[in-house]
């Protein structure tokens, strides 16, 4: 599954934008969440703005036709397409004109996930509270505002503006400190993208790279067999988190195991690779990490927009834990990792 196909999994939750029905819409919070989680049902096209705490505003032009046809153009400041992500439902291309490179792979298929949609919904319900916070117009369409709060911390983690047909017109993700971490807002949205171009042919001179290596969602046995490594799991997880799946990430001559945990909204990743793989974690773009202790050993803790990063090693393995947990919880998870 390509990276963009995965990110599309979120936005394609919503269906098209049929004309609003005349009858008043008075949903409850559960209904709004269900609508937002549903798979897209009809075509749409439009433009949305992206903002994150670590990058300038970007504009994305998007069109979608079910089943699984999508096209996203990430525009630069002049309105020229900087990157293109396109799928005809069978093949996904990510094209970067500046690098003269195109990645070809399979589009997202959330059906491969080990947690099915009902289980994910159940996780959200168990770990997060929902409340409606009124209604508002976004890109000319009426939307119910849904707030998602962590039951663990009481903090707001997401705010969604959901149209009656389920299209998420605006979404804000909040960080641990309560500040806005990222936001997506449609500035224009229309009901039809029929006739859109969902194919791609690499221009001459463009490098074509395969974007798939291994299945994205594996059970432990499958990942151990694919990597030749024994997956080491933590015996302690923060309340609400469950094991979801494993992936194998190749890097040069080494293979890393990526164990994923989920609480329905946030993910926790544990990467493991042999200590003798002679790989040194490069922190260059993240600044200097803090030195902390994990058990009796020295570890490093850094912070990125995606969450905290904790790196430590044992006699046989190196581990990297990434998640949006407190430093103390990160340490507790790390200390509970059991080597086989």
């Amino acid at each position: 599954m390509g990276p963009i196909s995965l990110l599309l999994a979120g936005s394609l939750l919503a269906g098209p934008a049929p004309a609003a029905a005349a009858a008043p819409w008075r949903p409850d919070a559960d209904e709004v969440l269900r609508l937002a989680l549903d798979k897209p049902r009809a075509a749409y096209e439009g433009e949305f703005e992206l903002r994150t705490s670590s990058s300038p505003k970007q504009i994305v032009r998007v069109s979608f036709v079910p089943p699984g046809h999508y096209r996203r153009e990430i525009l630069d400041a002049s309105g020229t397409t900087r990157m293109l992500v396109v799928s005809d439902g069978k093949t996904e291309w990510v094209y970067d004109a500046r690098r003269a490179a195109a990645w070809k792979g399979e589009p997202a298929d959330p059906d491969y996930k080990l947690l099915d949609p009902d289980e994910e919904y159940g996780l959200i319900e168990r770990n997060y509270g929902l409340r409606l916070a009124g209604a508002e117009a976004v890109a000319g369409r009426r939307a119910a505002i849904l707030e998602v709060l962590s039951r663990r911390t009481g903090k707001l983690v997401r705010r969604l503006w959901v149209a009656r047909d389920g299209l998420v017109l605006r979404r804000i993700a909040y960080g641990e400190d309560g500040a806005e971490a990222s936001a997506m807002t449609f500035t224009r949205v229309g009901a039809s993208a029929k006739g859109g171009d969902f194919t791609f042919s690499p221009p001459a001179g463009v490098r074509v790279l395969q974007s798939r290596w291994q299945p994205d969602y594996m059970g432990l046995d499958e990942a151990e067999s694919a990597s030749g490594l024994k997956a080491c799991l933590p015996s302690w997880l923060p309340p609400g988190y469950v094991f979801e799946s494993v992936n194998v990430v190749p890097f040069k001559d080494a293979k890393l195991i990526h164990v994923r945990f989920s609480d329905g909204v946030d993910a926790l990743s544990l990467f493991e690779y042999p200590r003798d793989a002679r790989l040194r974690l490069g922190w260059s773009r993240m600044g200097r990490p803090k030195t902390v202790r994990v058990g009796g050993t020295r570890a490093r803790l850094g912070a990125a927009a995606e969450g905290k990063v904790l790196e430590w090693r044992t006699e046989e393995h190196r581990f990297v834990l990434i998640g949006s947990l407190s430093a103390e919880s990160m340490r507790r998870v790390a200390e509970s990792v059991q080597e086989k």
Partner: protein, 164 residues
């Protein structure tokens, strides 16, 4: 007890001597600085060699050189005349250190598959984490779109075939 030979010391070091022999050797080592030094050198060489367990065999000339550096017991007549270990101590100490250092350097240089350490960009792991997070129902997809260019940089440079 006379000074034990190299084989006996080596067996003692490896725990291969019997109880009475071990006790006799231990007693001798307590009173013989030279043998303690020989034992120390042997231990260092063994440690260095075991660090290179899967390394190719140590070249014969280096092995001989290392063995030559292990001080031998002085001849009986020299000990008898009281010219034992005393004058040898500084030279022995230098030999021990040199032998151990040589063995360690050799072992380190001959470790199998030795290469300079590769850098695993933390961004690659963050990208894998984000990509998984994006499969979740309320994922902030904007984060990965915003950082896509940087992630492609890492993935291209990192030796992977691209996004995964």
């Amino acid at each position: 007890m006379n000074c034990p030979d190299k084989e006996a010391l080596s067996a003692y070091l490896d725990g291969e001597t019997g109880g009475s022999e071990s006790a006799a050797l231990a007693g001798h080592l307590e009173g013989c600085g030279l043998c303690r030094a020989r034992l120390k050198t042997l231990r260092a060489v063994k440690a260095a060699v075991s660090a290179a367990v899967q390394a190719p065999p140590m070249p014969a000339d280096l092995r001989r050189a290392l063995q030559d550096m292990i001080p031998r017991p002085a001849p009986w007549w020299r000990r008898l005349l009281g010219e034992g270990a005393g004058p040898l101590r500084p030279a022995a100490a230098v030999s021990f250190c040199l032998a151990a250092a040589l063995a360690l350097v050799w072992a380190a240089r001959h470790r199998p598959g030795r290469s300079s350490r590769d850098e695993l960009p933390v961004e690659m792991l963050l990208a894998a984490h984000s990509q998984y997070e994006l499969t979740m129902p309320l994922a902030p997809e904007e984060r990965i779109v915003a950082d896509l260019a940087a992630q492609l940089d890492e993935e291209t440079a990192g030796g992977a075939n691209g996004p995964y």
